[in-house]
Symmetry: C2
Subunit: 343 residues, 2 copies
């Protein structure tokens, strides 16, 4: 039985100043949880680490779903887990589920907020990536916020990341010309050769990004799906067309800043171009999640949507995998595999 | 006949650096125009001066409608004029028309772009104010861009101006709580007593605008109709609600700056609040102008929409009236009366 296994959790040891470091986190040995009435005991299998979590690690802050990262309390993130004991009629031992769980090897949770994973749709880790918040963010950000249509020129920043790679492919599926921005030669090859984007631009080796965008988008930019922000934003923004739609999905360039960064005020250009900048959180579209997941899985199984993970192994390496997101090395979704499924 | 009258025009003498000065303009005596085939000879009656014109006086710039302000060429703006001679079958002597005309006492124009003014709707000067671009900007900016609905808390900056005063009243007509920002005690009285807004805030005598907006909007800000920009924008933006809609209509704080001004990047807040910033130019809605004018005139005649002009007299005073827009003194629409109608 699992009660003899060692349990561990990772807590927030210090509110990070700037980019998180190993000292931001602390790994602790804890008891195996008691299983209360109607609860289920979960073993974590895949833990998702996401750049957006950084934005909510500052003191007193919380995320869009109301999750707080408090000192000495476990970090939570989207996780795929297996039920290893159950007092709930709705979940049986062996079921695979996902939800927002603590960074713990084992935990007891209420069945509220647990969702079953259908392993027939796609690999189970995709429940928190392609078929989870990243994929859904790409889906609704492109289709509901940006309102892409065939023939649009679409620029995606962070295009090799978990959201960007799916967003860019959704735009291709809809007949757009798609230019992806990423930060390594390997990622550019991935964008152009594996994902079939019309053009990839490596911002780390490009002196004048404004000119590079203009060159890659001879008809201007109709849609900008921004995961990055900062000066990359400015370079794309300088090339927008009349009636441009700018989806603000993430701002990884900004998450580690203590204060709000300054930049050129966009208002004048928004007027001249009759353009729109819109932020969103994916939970706005919760009613449509099931339909979106089915569509994403359909594209995946038709090989229209490719999906890539960067996998780190081992519970103790979760903090390192999270910190690594900010060095721009990972391609696709960064996941941590914590344990094998019980068969 | 008019051919014996002296004609005058006002040209752009120098691209302004910062706020326009009298040296930006030059008044010239010119010949009375010849009346070509199919042309009409116009006598200017009311000339509109608008802050947005400043944004297009820089070298090489042009406005959304493609009008350029070139050195030694006459300035153009929306004007109400009377036909004093006509070679066009569509326009008779005595007709009142409006369009974008040169700052000239008399000019011959092609009938393209001439629109007749219906004096039964409202005073004829309103053809270029309440029933012209300012009123239509307020109408479409509130109803199509901001999508106001009853119960929204709406903040309008530049609320005593030509666009803002109409925008604020349209929001009141639709059952919103409306807070107006303006720059003098006289204007605040106008907003609260004459226009019936829920609250006016004098930004010139308020130390902490962010707190003042919070105080005036206890339920937060659902819609921000911005005519001003700059730090006033930041103060309102700090108080937006989830799903806020921000209509960027004008940026008078910014028109006289040589370079794009810097400000806090809004992206992070746009994400957290699922909020939208959208610019527009009123000509996007040209197909709906007639219906909008009828609705605005109906509200005016039902006394639901009040309209105020600041009137300067005399052709030679057009530059002064324009420059005065940037000192924040005018209430409502700034117009210049150039001549009386022929009866």
């Amino acid at each position: 039985m699992h009660s003899t296994q060692q349990n561990q959790q990772i807590v927030l040891a210090a509110h990070p100043k700037g980019t998180p470091t190993p000292d931001t986190f602390k790994i602790k040995a804890i008891d195996m949880p008691e299983l209360g009435a109607n609860e289920v005991l979960l073993k974590s299998i895949y833990v998702s680490v996401d750049p957006g979590m950084r934005g909510f690690m500052d003191k007193g802050d919380d995320d869009a779903a109301g999750n707080k990262y408090e000192l000495n309390k476990p970090i939570t993130s989207r996780t795929v887990a297996q039920v290893v004991a159950s007092n709930s009629a709705d979940f049986a031992v062996g079921d695979i589920v996902h939800g927002r769980f603590a960074w713990q090897k084992f935990q007891s949770v209420s069945p509220d907020g647990l969702e079953k994973v259908d392993p027939s749709l796609a690999p189970i880790s995709t429940a928190v990536s392609m078929l989870g918040v990243p994929g859904l963010s790409a889906y609704f950000g492109m289709l509901k916020v940006a309102n892409i249509k065939a023939g649009d020129t679409v620029v995606v920043s962070g295009a090799a990341g978990s959201v960007g790679s799916i967003a860019a492919q959704i735009a291709k599926i809809h007949g757009c010309r798609v230019v992806g921005i990423a930060g390594s030669a390997k990622k550019i090859t991935y964008l152009e050769s594996d994902l079939g984007l019309d053009k990839g631009i490596n911002y780390k080796t490009t002196d004048d990004m404004t000119a590079a965008i203009a060159d890659a988008c001879p008809d201007g930019v109709d849609v900008f799906f921004d995961n990055v922000g900062g000066e990359l934003f400015d370079a794309v923004f300088a090339n927008i067309n009349p009636h441009a739609r700018i989806t603000i999905c993430g701002q990884i360039a900004d998450y580690n800043n203590d204060t709000v960064t300054q930049g050129p005020r966009p208002m004048h250009t928004l007027i001249k171009k009759s353009a729109r900048m819109e932020g969103f959180v994916v939970f706005n579209y919760a009613d449509e999640f099931d339909a979106a997941k089915k569509q994403l899985a359909k594209w995946y199984n038709e090989d229209k949507l490719k999906y890539k993970e960067t996998l780190t192994e081992g519970f103790a390496n979760i903090p390192e995998a999270f910190i690594g997101l900010f060095s721009g090395e990972n391609i696709g979704k960064q996941m941590v595999k914590v344990a094998d499924l019980d068969s």
